[in-house]
């Protein structure tokens, strides 16, 4: 694994970028480093951080899941529909949301592995539309509020101002880090992304591994949906058009994940998530409108991917030179 060194290099770069952004924003606006705002950044990060977990897994396998944002909105709306229908148990709502999110993730995985759709981005884009429509159907395109406290707990509660949702994020990230780097299944996810045929021939059931990734992505989207309900107190099907997926992709790619698969770490993704939130937070502090935020994020994604492509090209060139010697 000679790649380890470049991994560390990328992460140093992204950490540096994060620090520079924070310093610049602190100088530009006094409110930035206030306790409330920093806690607000953590709170904002939680939603995207959960989506990014699933996105990262799919990116590592050289796939993508464009339905995560719509899945989160759908699960939130599903809970809203249950709330409207008179279900009072918050636990039941969350359980149904997690199962539904996981089920749609599972369908994505099955479409990819069992029906052999080779373009996860088209099938998950289709799924995005399906979930977007379903989110509006189950709520009758109305906003729902008045959720039970147990549902809102995760997204709303803070300990001395520190959001519980972000503590949850940290726990999940630590578990996922250990899972990805220390367990057999975690390693086989990287293998499947590096060379799927080789890992299949070496006895890894790649179809199951991929299905697992997409299912977990759905479950994570459902958790993000629960967080969003707690944070805003409402579920709104119209949110499905928000660029949640692109935020998650940007976080992963900034954190060192590659579209060609086999790369990406939880630590890098965490930094990527923080960069995205700091960017958005800084923009609103400097009262720059959200439309410009979208443009900048679009450019950030393109740039991050461009760097990834250039990196891959250079690596290929180096390898060619090395083999020529």
């Amino acid at each position: 694994m000679t790649k380890k060194r470049t991994f560390a290099g990328i992460q140093m770069g992204t950490i540096l970028a994060l620090i520079i952004m924070c310093v610049v924003l602190s100088l530009a606006n006094r409110n930035f480093y206030s306790y409330d705002n920093v806690m607000g950044i953590f709170k904002q990060t939680a939603f995207n951080a959960f989506l990014s977990v699933g996105m990262l897994l799919c990116l590592i396998t050289a796939g993508i899941d464009l339905s995560v944002g719509a899945n989160a909105v759908f699960t939130a709306c599903l809970m809203g529909a249950m709330n409207k229908a008179g279900v009072s148990s918050g636990l039941l709502m969350m359980l149904v949301a997690l199962i539904a999110g996981g089920a749609f993730g599972f369908i994505n995985g099955v479409l990819l592995t069992r029906l052999h759709l080779p373009h996860p981005f088209v099938s998950t884009l289709g799924m995005k539309n399906v979930l977007w429509g379903l989110a509006l159907v189950v709520t009758g395109s109305q906003m729902v509020s008045g959720f039970p406290d147990s549902v809102q707990w995760l997204g709303r509660t803070t300990i001395q101002g520190f959001p519980v949702s972000f503590i949850m994020v940290l726990i999940v990230y630590v578990i996922m880090h250990i899972f990805l780097s220390r367990t057999a299944l975690g390693r086989s996810i990287y293998c499947a992304g590096g060379n799927i045929e080789a890992s299949r021939l070496s006895g890894i059931n790649t179809a199951n591994v991929l299905t697992f990734c997409y299912t977990l992505s759905g479950v994570m989207a459902a958790i993000a949906g629960i967080v969003s309900v707690g944070r805003s107190g409402i579920s709104n099907g119209a949110n499905a058009t928000q660029p949640y997926d692109t935020d998650a992709i940007a976080a992963c790619v900034i954190g060192g994940a590659s579209f060609t698969g086999g790369k990406g770490t939880m630590v890098g993704t965490m930094i990527g998530c923080l960069i995205i939130t700091v960017l958005r937070n800084g923009f609103s502090l400097l009262s720059i409108q959200s439309s410009i935020q979208n443009i900048v994020l679009g450019l950030v994604i393109i740039l991050a991917v461009l760097m990834d492509v250039l990196r891959a090209n250079m690596e290929a060139k180096r390898r060619r030179l090395a083999s020529a010697k």
């Binding site: 080779p118 399906v130 410009i292 991917v305």
Partner: protein, 331 residues
């Protein structure tokens, strides 16, 4: 993308593509008959006109993106760029630019986005869907900025300036009989696109790049250039779609257009164009466009909420891709 797979299939794609086109045509007729039987006043001249008008902008989007998909790429920015270009045109019209010039600006914005996508994909070698997703966000932001998040309207038939607009691009009422002038534009586009795709160097290289990019490169062709051109064609068509959309619906809302690209992509894939590249036809796409618009109008006539249509479009895309894959396997 998976150019290795398609390179061997290129020997007899005509037949396969033809089969799927026939299948799609039968499906179109079947859907039409079903709606005529069960829909509420579906089988009328008015509904037929509705279907036709619905097809104008999807048609332009789909024909343009057919070129891209044949090269093995994709464009997710279609819908938002369409709205954005129409919006930029409208805002410049509002700022005092002559109306004809505003329409040309609309076209130009579409072309510029096409150039942006094309350069990112061909010269900078970004994955097509991520590059176009980035430009989708840029288009979303741009339309909001230029319009200051306010809805704008294209001139209607009674407007002081540009009252000819709807007559030229939608339909004209001649002594009671409605003549769908928009259809002439669509037919014109189809004829030109068929010629370009089948009879010119652009078309030949579009297919060649899609079926085996490496082989084309090794035979000394500037692949980058021939990969860029389809994106520019699609950009032009998208700008044109913005004009057609404006003529049909007149109202342009900023930051909308998401989901339209899926309608167009669905139409293309239904028509037998393979997402793996190298296989496809304009006639198939046109059939796909009409399937999509018949479905939309038909479901509306049965009072189905638009949300269900979103679900259905998603399912159609997944199914169409599934069929596409199955066909490749049979070989």
């Amino acid at each position: 993308m998976s150019s290795k797979e398609t390179s061997t299939a290129v020997a007899k794609p005509r037949l396969k593509s033809g089969q799927q086109r026939l299948f799609a045509l039968i499906a179109l007729i079947a859907i039409y008959v079903i709606f005529a039987a069960f829909g509420n006043r579906f089988f009328t001249y008015r509904t037929f006109m509705n279907i036709l008008e619905q097809s104008y902008y999807i048609g332009f989007l789909a024909v343009g993106v057919t070129f891209i998909i044949i090269t093995g790429g994709i464009d997710l920015s279609l819908g938002t760029v369409m709205m954005c270009s129409a919006m930029v045109g409208l805002v410049s019209f509002g700022a005092g630019v002559p109306f004809v010039l505003a329409l040309i600006i609309t076209l130009l914005v579409g072309v510029l986005f096409g150039v942006l996508n094309g350069v990112l994909v061909s010269y900078l070698k970004l994955p097509a869907f991520i590059a176009t997703m980035g430009s989708m966000m840029i288009a979303l932001g741009l339309s909001a900025i230029v319009s200051k998040v306010q809805t704008r309207h294209f001139p209607s038939r009674t407007a002081e300036v540009g009252s000819w607009f709807q007559n030229v691009f939608r339909s004209v009422n001649m002594d009671g009989t409605v003549i769908p002038t928009g259809a002439f534009w669509l037919v014109g586009l189809i004829v030109i696109a068929v010629i370009v795709l089948n009879k010119t160097r652009i078309g030949r290289y579009t297919f060649a790049v899609g079926s085996n990019e490496e082989a084309v490169r090794l035979s000394g062709v500037a692949v980058e250039k021939w990969k860029l051109i389809p994106y520019i064609i699609a950009g032009f068509c998208t700008g044109m779609a913005g004009i057609m959309y404006g003529a049909t619906y007149t109202t342009i809302i900023p930051q909308t257009g998401q989901g339209e690209e899926l309608n167009a992509i669905a139409a293309v894939v239904i028509g037998g164009t393979s997402l793996s590249g190298g296989i496809g036809s304009i006639t198939g796409t046109v059939i796909g466009v009409f399937i999509m618009s018949v479905l939309q109008v038909g479901l509306m006539s049965m009072n189905v909420q638009p949300h269900y249509q979103k679900v259905l479009t998603g399912i159609i895309v997944i199914m169409a891709v599934f069929i596409d894959i199955r066909q490749h396997k049979k070989r």
